[in-house]
Symmetry: C2
Subunit: 472 residues, 2 copies
Amino acid sequence: MRWRLPALALSVSLTDHERLSVSSTSVSRITGLDTYDIRFPTSRELDGSDAMNTDPDYSAAYLVLRTDSEDGLEGHGFAFTIGRGNDVQVAALDALRAHVVGRSVEDLCDDPGSLARDLTGDSQLRWLGPEKGVMHMAIGAVINAVWDLAAKRADKPLWKFLADADPEWLADQIDYRYITDALTRQEAVTILQRGREGRTARESDLLAHGYPAYTTSPGWLGYTDEKLTRLAQRAVADGFRQIKLKVGADLDDDIRRFRAARAAVGPDIRIAMDANQRWNVDEAITWTTALAEFDPYWIEEPTSPDDVLGHATIRKAVAPVQVATGEHVQNRIVFKQLLQAEAIDVLQLDAARVGGVNENLAILLLAAKFGIPVCPHAGGVGLCELVQHLSMFDYLAVSTTVQDRVIEYVDHLHQHFTDPVRIEGGRYLPPTAPGYSAQMHPGSITRYTYPHGQFWADDLAARTTDGQELAV
Amino acid sequence: MRWRLPALALSVSLTDHERLSVSSTSVSRITGLDTYDIRFPTSRELDGSDAMNTDPDYSAAYLVLRTDSEDGLEGHGFAFTIGRGNDVQVAALDALRAHVVGRSVEDLCDDPGSLARDLTGDSQLRWLGPEKGVMHMAIGAVINAVWDLAAKRADKPLWKFLADADPEWLADQIDYRYITDALTRQEAVTILQRGREGRTARESDLLAHGYPAYTTSPGWLGYTDEKLTRLAQRAVADGFRQIKLKVGADLDDDIRRFRAARAAVGPDIRIAMDANQRWNVDEAITWTTALAEFDPYWIEEPTSPDDVLGHATIRKAVAPVQVATGEHVQNRIVFKQLLQAEAIDVLQLDAARVGGVNENLAILLLAAKFGIPVCPHAGGVGLCELVQHLSMFDYLAVSTTVQDRVIEYVDHLHQHFTDPVRIEGGRYLPPTAPGYSAQMHPGSITRYTYPHGQFWADDLAARTTDGQELAV
């Protein structure tokens, strides 16, 4: 229970309590924040292609928090991007180095929320947001690396570290600024205390049966109908009860593809659809209505993630088709409004866009307060690895149910992680390794570092030989 | 009229029409995008201090578009930041270089909106926003530099370049994605056509009398009451009819300072107040109500710029005190909602946060459609220089009035610009030099480049001698 210090002690450096409780690492410090620009050439296969993201090279602005802890403790984190601009994201990580290096590992692990408030509240850095875009994603990556440290130090996977934590301590990790009109600290504590009832039984259920997933793998826009049909049928055979199609580039194509998908899976499998922000409000309504005959389960990202009122208008117009969004929602303040305005049926948090685990705690609690299910966005690089922890914690300690809750699953790039997701029968099995499952294999980091890692160096050489330039 | 090509011709490179009309620069290209990390040590004097921004070092992530035009044509632009993170902002500018270098100067100047759509719509870069934060500010800086090029090439200051432009062409510069539920292209054309009536008389008025300003110089939070009183009285003596106080750190202090300010200027001068996002919704209401006895003209940034619904709640509660926001509003989509939700009385656009002049065109037209006055945010580095052009264009061609409209004025750092603002009798005089007034003196750039310019090199040497580290 080393990590469950009372909040009052957190402002004091190295109390007797800390010295006694963390003997092996009692004076450890953060000694480095190393960054890596890692890019995978996913655009070559049109994996991940949709109506807005036509040629993504799934990438990670990756960092490692080094410590002088005797046991070699490290914290890993990353922001996910889709190629160009990953260098800018790395520059933002670099800008945070001076704020973190030299800090006490114990203080950070005892109170990650305090560092999160320091970083998002930095009087100069916040001009670059506030709490949005490149700088906020960088802060989220660093804060996630601290949570990885904290969970590893407690020798628990993050989902269990969170689920076992004291409600008062968890509630103290949240920054309530700008959300007190929707969620107070006391309401957070009440929800978390209520979440302790029956937790042991839910943990047994989770360990035995895992957490339900849905798969986006069949539905990328760049795939042929034949490939879509084949992958959709395989998804059902693999145990998935929900799949997702990308839509929004051409309505006739979408009608044809949706018909093929429905024919492939039958009436009982949920088919969600995802427009990736392609539409204006009126287009979203027209297009969704035109596809309603195929019984879509939700329409995801029908328009700009910034448009709270637009989503509310769309939701009213397209019911009973549900409205889902979240992967590009910048922070808890916009999620708060999506809930207040009754603009969404499904909240799709993302592990690597907002300001880290503590901001996602706030988002999970807001969703619970408003009674809206959380179905996280995943895929990309390592997003499945991260969000499974948040959903499992949500089940054990916040929403206390998996009813109508599913984690997105995409079967790309997991091999680069040291603790990859495990899917069985269409369900995520709970990770068992300590930490946040954010760590990549050193060989993957080395090979795919842009532009000097072996893959990209070879690629550039080949393209130069062909007389072409590298188009990044 | 070189710049007023019909929209249809814009997709064709170097038509006969272009060759004839732009003889001196007929084959010019963008040859470079040079970037500079420029920081001014404003935190030493607490200039610019407020409840959230306690120690700003006003900075610019600055760029120059070089061309091979025979007349040495250059486009200048910048993103404004307040110190730390200016390097990240420069990295974002650098990431745009490959998108701009090599393009035809003619094509860019004939249709800046097309480049804006290319950059904000880049399928990989948009993941870093979309249309918000560091990446969007970088795009805005580059696009503003293109507008600077276009106005210089037309030999007009930007305000006149815009005011003289054909309504159809101007309307084509706007990206209507995500705002068609509030403003269509046809509505934009109608507003702009209506704005042509009486324009000549308004231009004569503008040239004779300038555009009204208000000043924030007396009201920085770090100033003593004595300095506040002295500067407030001087502002009135200088002809200003409105001043602004920073509030939000301590209510008792604010009551004392507001009382002093009101005593200094009397009942007829408007005093706005600015909380710089310090409050939650309920705090904003309580605090504003507590200061209402001093007749504040508006409360600015009462809470998060992301909180459309929060602003609407505050506005209802604090009327007749007006609610103003905008300097941190990320894009046209959030402005659209602030207007739709009746959340603001005053719209404070910023020239260097959104995606450039064309996005501000959309914002000016949205404000006109909803009948809300635009009073731009300024100050910082060069923001006064930029926004004056937008307000003057608004007067001549969009809102057609200066009633209840004022441009913020702060008397800092203008000496670093080659075409600094001119204030007389509390009014901005229209700039006469061609372009967007964004250009800094080469000597200022050299001296304040961080960290190797002479100022910072000397500063670091002095601090090292004192045994201190440079705290940036």
